[in-house]
Symmetry: C2
Subunit: 351 residues, 2 copies
């Protein structure tokens, strides 16, 4: 089958995100990459749920891991009678779909589709694992292909010799951007906000760009105003974990304050992604609070005292007035005009 | 001799900052506290210069370490003839005074005074080590006593049941604030920005407050807007590495963007410290750039790839319009009225 990861960095190769084979889902442990290159091995779909909750993979990684987890659920249930097997797989689709609350709408699209494929396969005495894996590859291809379209629209907004600030690890759009920039020969300098607590910007985004030969500089999350004041940054761009119909953006904690600083320093903020139909208002999005212990730790070492607390909101909400363009697969929209996206697109089949 | 560190946390005890004894200066290694409690042992004043440059101690720690380093320089030169000995100690005063460029004005005040004491002692056949140590304790007492006055003026600005956000580790003012808050019985909740790259907020400030029983919560540096938007923070306060006569503030990298967010979210920003007479304008301050490698590391572990760069400005500059009050030993001033401080104070003898 055709694949869209050619010419992309290590992290974007399909098998290096998450992959099902012979009763095991292997997920690259993004919590330690590039310091260590290790894969977490999941022997049950519940292991996959836990890996997603534990941030073994993040950004678009879970989209791939979820499909692989559904293939694994079919494998796990191979000895059950049809009815019990379908129940087991349905349960898996619900648990995987709800692994993280803020993104459960997107997750559930994937797991529900896989469940339907499984039911159809079981009813027709076909192998659900095989059919789900075929769908998984189609789904990954579709996302990569779509994000290449998004990347093309983003590149159109980036002048020659710009400096771009990224936040966290936008995964597919990072891969798309790299492969398109390489083809375009546009000279671009990359600044990556390191993105505590898990440092995905410093470890993942910076690795992708630097591996592919880009001039790549890390900023700690508290250097953003300094960098903007000193004219190091021309454009801020991030992906989004949710783009609401009212033009709001839910993304990795820290995005909101970078967007606010960008506004203050006249730096453009371009959000990339596929808007979430049905998510009407930014206000309605619930922010997932994760284990605060992660904030007291860095690189696996606890540096804070024992009596100290922390909070760990995974995401924050950036209102539409701080966003210059929402860059989609069919064009770049002013956030206030996002309704046009849905008019233009009709039925969206992305995940 | 009377001392002002009673009732203060571990980090504020004089001997736990930096101390000279028997040919050695011991400096608490703040880069790893509280995870490890170790002291760097300096056998020469050059070791002290290096320790300050390597951030073994920071904030007000170097003020103490510099005086101790000068005592050590006197010890090191004990076998030299008077003239050579004075030259050696003068050289030490210059090198120690210039250990960090942004704060060299303050540093040089201490080392020059120690040098004069040493010359006087040598000319009068007295022991310069002993006299410098006496001056060191006087100087530390003076700073602690002065910062207790600053603390009193700060507390007057803090309503009951406030939540206070700190940045980095303000050292003496943190000790003063803690001891005064304990006496006042004012209920205060503390949020500490973790302050990458060295996490002084998470490790040092949070340890001081939590050790003394305060409700203490760490925020990663990218959670500030989230915390302010969710009304977790009432007041932002920081110390300053330099307060210029035009009301500008030079402080740990990250202060500028917190001050900007505070302005956006109507959170008051109170700067504590002794304004720097002679430092006319914020624009004239030179920001020290440190080894970028520190940004690619956290808790001693390198997490970034090998082809990735970084920048590491130690400080940033917050203009007076983002500061609500500059809180000094003789009162809280609007930044634009800072000239009144110098009129009120006359000759300043702080360091």
């Amino acid at each position: 089958m055709e694949r869209y990861d050619e010419g992309m960095p290590f992290l974007l190769k399909y098998e290096n995100v998450a992959w099902y084979q012979d009763g095991t889902v292997r997920i690259l442990d993004r919590r330690v990459y590039p310091r260590e290159v290790i894969f977490v091995e999941c022997k049950s779909y519940k292991d996959v749920v836990k890996a997603i909750q534990d941030m073994v993979t993040q950004s678009a990684g879970p989209y791939t891991a979820l499909g692989m987890g559904m293939a694994l659920a079919c494998y796990e249930s191979r000895s059950l009678y049809k009815k019990e097997r379908k129940n087991f797989i349905e349960k898996a689709s619900i648990e995987l779909g709800n692994a993280r609350i803020t993104t459960k709408e997107r997750y559930s699209k994937i797991t529900t589709r896989c469940y339907k494929i499984a039911v159809d396969a079981i009813d027709n005495d076909k192998d659900p694992v095989k059919l789900i894996m075929e769908d998984n590859i189609k789904s990954i291809n579709r996302r990569y292909k779509t994000m290449i379209e998004v990347g093309k629209n983003l590149i159109d907004l980036i002048p020659e010799n710009s400096s771009i600030l990224t936040q966290c690890y936008g995964e597919t759009i990072i891969g798309a951007l790299i492969s398109l920039l390489k083809k375009s020969n546009k000279k671009i300098k990359i600044y990556c906000a390191e993105t505590r607590p898990f440092l995905q910007g410093a470890r993942l985004t910076a690795s992708c760009f630097s591996e592919e030969g880009f001039d790549t500089t890390i900023l700690t999350d508290n250097m953003i105003a300094y960098a903007m004041e000193n004219k190091l940054i021309d454009i801020f761009t991030s992906a989004a974990d949710c783009i609401t119909e009212d033009g709001g953006v839910v993304n990795k904690i820290g995005t909101l304050q970078i967007a606010q600083l960008a506004k203050l320093y006249d730096v453009k903020y371009f959000v990339t992604g596929i808007p979430d139909k049905g998510m009407k208002k930014l206000d309605d999005v619930k922010i997932e609070m994760k284990d605060p212990e992660e904030v007291l730790i860095c690189n696996g070492i606890k540096h804070a005292g024992n009596k100290v607390k922390a909070i760990y909101p995974s995401f924050d909400k950036t209102p539409s007035n701080l966003v210059d363009k929402i860059v989609t697969d069919v064009g770049a929209y002013n956030p206030k005009d996002l309704c046009k996206y849905f008019e233009n697109k009709g039925e969206i089949n992305f995940y």
